[in-house]
Subunit: 447 residues, 2 copies
């Protein structure tokens, strides 16, 4: 009877949680996947949504649709507020769900290193809303720059600062450069978008700390070739609506993107365990949370030791592999078979792309950069996208973008457009330079 | 010298305004197109965004990109607050733009017949935000229905009411039926989305007043075949968050869409003219506003007499034809040539689609319904979409949707998802029916 099957509750439908659920499809267990969104989100491509190259719909997949054919799995839209391990229930905003086996895959958020007030001015790249906000700010800033003639204000509007020299920051800075220098070029009458200033700020001594130094140097050169100012060894001291203060200098900027700190979800607090680095939940090599028999954590939420006792990095490929491993292991368990050996991470490589024909790839045994790396990057990311439709649409968007330089998704959300439109100081400042906006006494009549 | 060229200011980048601007590309005039959005919006397909079939990016086109190659045209993101005809300036929220020739193409909004407080519960279909709100509410309602076991609440969550039996209402009702009965079918474990109740309410005696009665009857049969309750001669009396009261009956509904009344923009007030029906600006057959020499109005904003002194309907094809006419006429004027004859509307026909293989088309000399009308509808709408990329993407989405029944854009905006997740009353009500949610004392352990 289904009623006697163990109840597996998975919190989070990201890379880790979704893989666990998939692996349990058809297993003798009742599986409930809880997420506060109705969709899985392909976060590594979110920066392309933020720069108008992809539509949000191309980087999401409805969880229900992905898991539709597995009758033993149910999806629940819910906001988890806590866990009661004694009673074995997950607490929701307005209810609770009992479990026999609990899988915590709640991912990570942005860390502002104690300056949470910076979040308003410097959104990270974790949700569809983050991406839409950044896209709106970027595009609205160029619109406002077009109608203002206050040179300092214009300069600020045409400056974007990206904080963090990891893959997210590097890809974001490159994509903003592409947007300004390629897509928007020639579409304005009073500003030249290709002169936009893009600054990439990194506190560490070099970009892409996880990559070999030679490739990091190549990326730096590629970014500088696109006109991005790369500032390594430069610490952010303050962020507000005017811009970023970093390395003692104020950089006035209308668009600020935060790609620096990663903070784990509140899962450690929920479970009452001593958090590891960045708020993570320490787990053993079976991904089991210390002190619990049937609670597992994985992905960005978990602190898991890899080879030479180094903690595994917070990467999509770690989350995915852990999800597959744990799903299969739990499947064996509920089928009454032996738990497999401990989790082993296989590092397939790192990739980062900066722009057209500009990327780096590190497979350990082989490193490459330039066009080949860029093409590999595209292939791998299309392959990884969940759902054939998303692969197809993203491929077409990219081909289109490549062939025409146009970006398909240049939508400014209404609230940002309204603020922008209202703040456009068109006259009298504009009179000086723009004939169409000049107002000298009573206008002449048409001939 | 460019400075002596007349200044043409166009307010609004919809079907009418965009055509005027295009026709003036390269003309001896300095053209400024002002819009409060950075994009043109293909409103006739917005209901497909609201029902997750198309992505918002597929029904918008960035105004700058569309007009890029015309160096005499500039695009301005701005919120018009008024017009000063004596000084010949358009007033913006934070400035002003002088004109020699003014073209008012500000479109229309929803009219709630004096009940503006209904707007919150029953959004119309005029903006991308409207469509995203409706999509979010529709999808979130099914999510909430899945987790509640209060039968009355579940019934309300699985009910959608569409107000207005014109093309918008008919297409919307049909699309919601398709979403529930086709796309979402089989994805839930405790509700059957295909049993959703969809009610189409129309105050008049029949649907599609602009179509021949025989086709309106066909559409009614097509809708009823999809399980839509069609209520004609039924007046809406009240709308609130609980639902709609219509024809003396309260219909509890979580999703309400307003496709009934159309109200023109505040252009008549700006110009200080006596408004026509629905707040429109009366114009002569040259589209000139009475009492002004160089102010024109067209599209939904304008009240223009057609044949037999019948006012022209507020349709995209009227706006487009007027825009082409006025753009060419103004071009002749600024080139010093003669103004052409008066505007003549050529009615190419009406179409409405209800769902797969279900549509009607009326070309006056020929009427058809069913699969052929549906295919024609698709062809015509792909052809009309602005921009080759949008045509391509929409075609692929439609083919995909047709072949698989899946919809690509099932995104619930975060704010709606959060409200929905927080209000999901999972327990104890859910305990009664859902084994996964049952909590009986201390849960059994897994075997």
């Amino acid at each position: 009877m289904a009623d006697h099957q163990p109840r597996v509750v998975i919190i989070g439908g990201g890379f880790a949680g979704l893989e666990v659920a998939r692996a349990l499809g058809g297993a003798p267990a009742r599986v409930t996947l809880i997420d506060r969104q109705n969709h899985h989100l392909f976060i590594p491509l979110l920066y392309q949504v933020a720069t108008a190259a992809l539509s949000a719909s191309e980087v999401v997949a409805p969880l229900r649709q992905v898991l539709k054919r597995h009758n033993n799995i149910e999806v629940m839209l819910g906001e988890v507020t806590g866990i009661d391990p004694a009673e074995r229930v997950v607490l929701l905003a307005n209810g609770h769900v009992p479990y026999d086996i609990l899988v915590v895959a709640t991912g990570s958020g942005q860390s502002y290193f104690g300056h949470d007030d910076w979040a308003e001015y410097a959104p990270g790249l974790k949700t569809v809303e983050d991406a839409r906000t950044i896209r709106g700010r970027l595009l609205a800033a160029f619109e406002q720059a077009e109608t203002t003639t206050d040179e300092a204000a214009q300069r600020r509007l045409m400056t974007a600062v990206v904080v963090g020299g990891g893959p997210t920051g590097v890809e974001m800075a490159g994509a903003i450069a592409g947007l300004a220098r390629q897509t928007l070029k020639g579409e304005f009458r009073r500003i030249r978008p290709e002169t936009a200033r893009i600054v990439l700020v990194e506190a560490g001594s070099r970009l892409l700390a996880a990559f070999p130094e030679s490739l990091a140097e190549k990326v730096r050169a590629q970014l500088e070739g696109l006109g991005v100012e790369v500032r390594t060894g430069c610490m952010v001291e303050h962020v507000d609506e005017q811009g970023v203060q970093a390395g003692g200098e104020l950089i006035p900027a209308a668009t600020i993107v935060w790609g620096a700190g990663v903070a784990a979800s509140p899962a450690a607090r929920w479970l009452g365990v001593e958090p590891g680095r960045g708020g993570t939940v320490p787990v053993d090599r079976n991904l089991r949370v210390a002190g619990f028999e049937d609670v597992y954590a994985l992905g960005d939420t978990a602190l898991c030791q890899g080879r030479r006792d180094q903690p595994l990095p917070q990467l999509a490929q770690v989350a995915k592999q852990q999800g597959k491993y744990l799903g299969r292991a739990l499947r064996r368990q509920v089928e009454g078979r032996r738990w497999p050996g401990p989790f082993r991470f296989i590092h397939y490589g790192n990739m980062a792309t900066v722009g057209r024909h500009a990327a780096v790839a590190d497979f350990g045994w082989w490193r490459t950069s330039g066009t080949l790396a860029w093409m590999l990057w595209g292939l791998v990311h299309v392959y990884l996208l969940v759902g054939f439709r998303n692969r197809l649409m993203a491929t077409i968007q990219w081909l289109w973008h490549y062939l025409t330089g146009q970006r398909g998704v240049r939508l400014i959300p209404a609230d940002i457009a309204a603020r922008s439109a209202a703040s456009a100081k068109v006259a009298p400042a504009a009179e000086a330079t723009n004939p169409a906006l000049r107002l000298v006494g009573r206008p002449r009549r048409a001939a």
